[in-house]
């Protein structure tokens, strides 16, 4: 019984939240890895474009709520998603037209693209704050729990409760659907294959008659969709704040690099590796240990390896270790 209680507790505080967080990171990292594979630069504006896309979703959600529209047990934000996705795609395509296309024409070095995306990041950052302000916004509605901790205890008679928030379940389901569609697209369709071909060997793709501008456009459309999804799911599950979204850049990049840059499967695995590490290292294991250790052996401390404030240090440490010992990442992506 103790072991079961310990497992439930672990699921409640680490496994479920990390799976949800990992799915959000994976969606973001997928966008980063696709942009890196096709456009060959690290898209630093990723977090902030996610923020502005989510801001549009939030404003639309409020509009819908004001008009009395609701989506039953599901968050109203899901109804607002198409608007946000369309906006994000148009925003990215506009940025491509205004900024990146010029550098593609002059065949600029990747570093120039990175700096340009840094500029886009600052601009987007400012626009988001103008649009919705720098503060926190909550926009989750609908049913809060699929399983609440108290219900779980009553059903099972265990002393530990297991809560599954509807946003967590929603995150995982939406992420899985999005990944499924993405992989189908990349592996089964002509356009998807032409993207992989372009990522693999740009010159040969040109020789084969693949139109690079079309490939680039499809990439932005997919990345924009994933970014808006990731941002909205993160915002629903946790909180929306422009600065928090900017900070997500580090774990998302870490996920893409750990998995292997340019490799979509790697981005997904990387997302979960980062999420589980962050939560595992910053979790206080004292109560978990309490189920197994004799009372006399219980340590004084919380058995927390690092305080939660240092969760980015975990990400950073993983990133550094990977870059030193396996720069290609888990799935042999490209080396920066």
């Amino acid at each position: 019984m103790d072991a079961l209680n310990a497992l439930i507790m672990l699921a409640n505080f680490v496994l479920i939240p990390a799976t949800a967080y990992g799915s959000q990171l994976a969606l973001g990292a997928l966008g980063i890895t696709l942009i890196y594979g096709i456009l060959r630069f690290s898209h630093f504006a990723h977090g902030d474009v996610m923020a502005i896309g989510t801001a549009v979703v939030i404003l639309t959600t409020w509009g819908l709520q004001g008009a009395g529209v609701s989506f039953g047990v599901l968050p109203t934000a899901l109804l607002a998603l198409p608007v946000g996705i369309a906006f994000t795609i148009l925003y990215l395509l506009a940025m491509d037209r205004v900024v990146y296309r010029f550098y593609r024409r002059v065949r600029a070095k990747p570093m120039v693209f990175v700096m340009a995306s840094l500029g886009v990041m600052f601009v987007t950052n400012g626009l988001t704050r103008l649009l919705i302000g720098p503060g926190e916004q909550r926009f989750a509605d609908g049913a809060r729990f699929v399983i609440s901790a108290r219900d779980f205890r009553t059903w099972t008679g265990l002393s530990e409760g297991l809560a599954l928030r509807s946003t967590q379940l929603l995150t995982v389901v939406v992420a899985l659907i999005a990944m499924g569609i993405l992989f189908y697209f990349l592996n089964r369709t002509r356009s998807g294959k032409s993207m992989r071909a372009y990522s693999d060997n740009e010159d040969l793709a040109l020789l084969s008659g693949i139109n690079p501008e079309r490939v680039v456009m499809i990439t932005w459309v997919i990345a924009g969709t994933l970014m808006c999804l990731a941002g909205t799911l993160y915002g629903l599950d946790k909180i929306f704040r422009p600065f928090t979204f900017f900070q997500l850049l580090l774990p998302m990049f870490a996920a893409a690099i750990v998995g292997g840059l340019g490799n979509p499967l790697g981005a997904i695995v990387g997302g979960y590796v980062i999420a589980f590490s962050e939560l595992g290292v910053t979790y206080a294991w004292r109560r978990f240990a309490g189920y197994f250790l004799p009372p006399d052996w219980m340590p004084e401390g919380l058995m927390q390896i690092l305080p939660v404030d240092y969760k980015f240090a975990v990400t950073f440490a993983i990133l550094v270790l990977v870059l030193i010992f396996r720069p290609t990442g888990i799935f042999r992506g490209k080396v920066i």
Partner: protein, 236 residues
């Protein structure tokens, strides 16, 4: 005599800066094999790239079936029926063999299943490995993928830049056999080769280039028999 099917006529040009080609002429007849040989730095690959439009000519012209295509981009020449197999990076390594062939047929809007079948008949090993990533294949098999990819557009001319670079002698003979087979189907072959002796043996026409200009031009057989060519380029 009527003009050859594909001709790069008196081509002069380079990659910017000094010229590499100096009035160099390369031609191939329908269904024949033309081979460009010569010492390192003679401009063999450059001549081939010039025919394919990968460098700008200062003078001279390229004509395909009598049509002047000098101003066309490489992509446009692919649409005109030219297939090109680069020396390196000539496959999509992370994609399967079959996907490589599909990408070769990207510009085709009709059903290319039959062409793919022909490629598999020509290179049976590719059929066995069609779901394997092309980057995991051996050097000789990769070359087969590269040639197969170029054949997917059903080109009238196939241009090969050192197809046997880095493969074993046995694989080289095998590749040459396949190239002869391709030529027999009516496709003209223009290729650059380091293995001059073997290549000239299968060539209908041979071009020996030195410093970007034609030094000797004759049938492959005649070049192999020519004592000058033997002494200077074939090691006696």
């Amino acid at each position: 005599m009527s003009e050859p099917f594909l001709i790069g006529d008196a081509m002069t040009g380079g990659y910017g800066g000094a010229d590499i080609l100096h009035g160099c002429t390369i031609a191939v007849e329908k269904g024949q094999i033309a081979v460009i040989v010569g010492p390192n730095g003679a401009g063999k690959s450059t001549a081939m790239k010039a025919v394919f439009g990968m460098l700008n000519l200062r003078s001279g012209a390229v004509r395909l079936g009598g049509e002047d295509i000098t101003a066309l981009s490489p992509q446009a020449r692919v649409n005109k029926g030219m297939g090109f197999v680069p020396q390196t990076n000539n496959i999509f390594p992370s994609m399967s063999v079959e996907e490589n062939l599909e990408m070769g047929a990207f510009i085709r809007t009709d059903d290319y299943a039959q062409t793919m079948e022909q490629v598999y008949t020509l290179f049976p090993i590719l059929r066995d490995k069609r779901h394997q990533a092309a980057g995991e294949l051996s050097g000789g098999q990769r070359q087969q993928v590269a040639v197969g990819r170029a054949l997917m557009t059903k080109p009238s001319v196939l241009m090969l830049d050192e197809p046997t670079a880095g493969v074993s002698p046995i694989v080289m003979d095998e590749l040459f056999d396949r190239i002869i087979e391709i030529a027999r189907t009516g496709i003209s072959i223009l290729m650059v080769e380091q293995n001059a002796r073997q290549a000239l043996a299968i060539a209908d026409k041979g071009y020996v280039l030195v410093q970007g200009a034609n030094r000797f031009t004759d049938t492959g057989e005649a070049l192999l028999a020519d004592p000058d060519v033997r002494r200077s380029f074939l090691g006696g």
